[in-house]
């Protein structure tokens, strides 16, 4: 029956369209389902997971001491050359020469947050910070020195 099929087709087609319209109407009327985060407004409540890879930082304790020995493992592990370790020789009180870092230069603009440097570090001197708002007007600001000025190595870290 041609006519019967014709009418049947029309009804099944309209039904399938109405099912979809019911779904969108549901969301139109249920505003609680909205999942948008209003980002710059929710800065205070925004919590990033502790493993989030934002940028490489070097934690210092309250005496301005870090754990970096200047072994350059991170520099070797980095695929992009975004870390450069500049070492110097400290004279310890008993007159021995000891290798230490002068500067640990970190190029944020080259970094891909692959976490390989953090993995490679034998003394847990560097870690990933949970920051992500990295935009600056001058790209020189993206080249960072990770160790604080005047900082020295923590006692007992070899």
């Amino acid at each position: 029956m041609f006519i019967k099929n014709y009418i049947k087709n029309i009804f099944s087609a309209v039904k399938s369209l109405l099912v979809g319209m019911k779904r969108t109407l549901y969301y139109f009327t249920h505003h609680k389902e909205i999942i948008t985060q209003q980002y710059p407004d929710n800065r205070d409540t925004l919590i990033l997971p502790e493993r989030f890879k934002g940028e490489v930082v070097m934690p210092h304790n309250e005496n301005n001491e870090h754990r970096c020995t200047g072994c350059t493992a991170c520099e070797l592990a980095c695929p992009n050359g975004s870390i450069k370790v500049i070492t110097k020789f400290d004279i310890s009180p008993d007159g021995k020469k000891k290798k230490a870092i002068d500067k640990l230069v970190y190029h944020l603009e080259l970094c891909t947050m692959c976490n390989l440097c953090v993995e490679a570090c034998p003394s847990d001197a560097i870690k990933m910070a949970q920051t992500f708002e990295h935009s600056v007007y001058d790209r020189n600001q993206l080249t960072k020195t990770l160790n604080n000025p005047g900082s020295k190595i923590m006692d007992g870290v070899e």
Partner: protein, 358 residues
Amino acid sequence: MWSFSNIANLVHEVLAEHFNPAITLAIEMVIAGVSVIGLFAILGLVLVIMERKVSAWMQIRLGPNRVGPKGMLQSLADTLKLIVKEGMTPNGADKLLFNLAPFIAMIVAMLLMAPIAFAKDLQMWDLNIGILYVSALSSVTVISILMAGWSSNNKFSLLGAMRSGAQIVSYELSAGLSALAIVVLTGSLQISEIITSQANGWWIFKGHIPAIIAFVTFIIAVTAETNRAPFDLAEAESELTAGFHTEYSGMKFALFFLAEYVNVFIMCSIAATLFFGGWMPLHIGNWHKFNHVMDFIPSSIWFFGKTFFLIFVIMWFRWTFPRLRIDQLLDLEWKYLLPITMFNLLLVTAVAILGWHF
């Protein structure tokens, strides 16, 4: 109760006191023109923000919420942006037609506003062939689209324009035939008469199933005629980037944009007039108390409420359905809508002759 005819008469009397009849007429025409342009701008702003909010809520988003209270002034900011943007004309384009096309789209939309009854006694031109006038003029829109597509010197625009040509010409048929169903029931093409014929109930209730079928086909045809999704093949952003207005920018683009929304408004108001009684409040047969309560709601609210509900339905289509393919679009018209509307017209004629409607 105040009414628009009182205001109009008041204005006319005041003007007639001070000026001779020719100048009075001229001033009245200017007032009408200014109010149409004002309505045009307000409609554009309101419909754009409405579309953006409707789409956002259907897509589990918030939508614009920064400019003004709850983002309600967003479209104003958009307009400002479009005004200050450069309106470029591409190399190798037919400059005259390219720059003329958006204005034709606008002018057609403006002319279409003439016979619409916005409220009781608020109608610019109650001509006796109102429906015919609307359906004749609305097909002129295709000329502006064809002009824009052809003169842009862009293959995407040309394809979009050609699609639009095929589409509007074919859907004009079923839109006209669906409107005819109500004309048959009313026995008049005049908008005011169609509205007064629904004083005791709207045609969608009085006309039984044939009126409902006519309403559904009319809404589908109107969606296609105004190039709205799922029939937006002339634009088809995922296929033809932006179709016929790919090369337009700045205010010229804004005019196309505005004309599209105003066309949607006009077509929805025609649908509201034909099937939901225009500004006529909801009256049910002999329930005089109920009818009396309904009369207290101003007629303009009835009109805009119905129209905006229909606009919402059309937006609802857009944000739910995928787009049709060009051959399926023509299949839908020639194999489904046209036979159905023609059969429905016979049905309506039978109903009208036998007096089966209320």
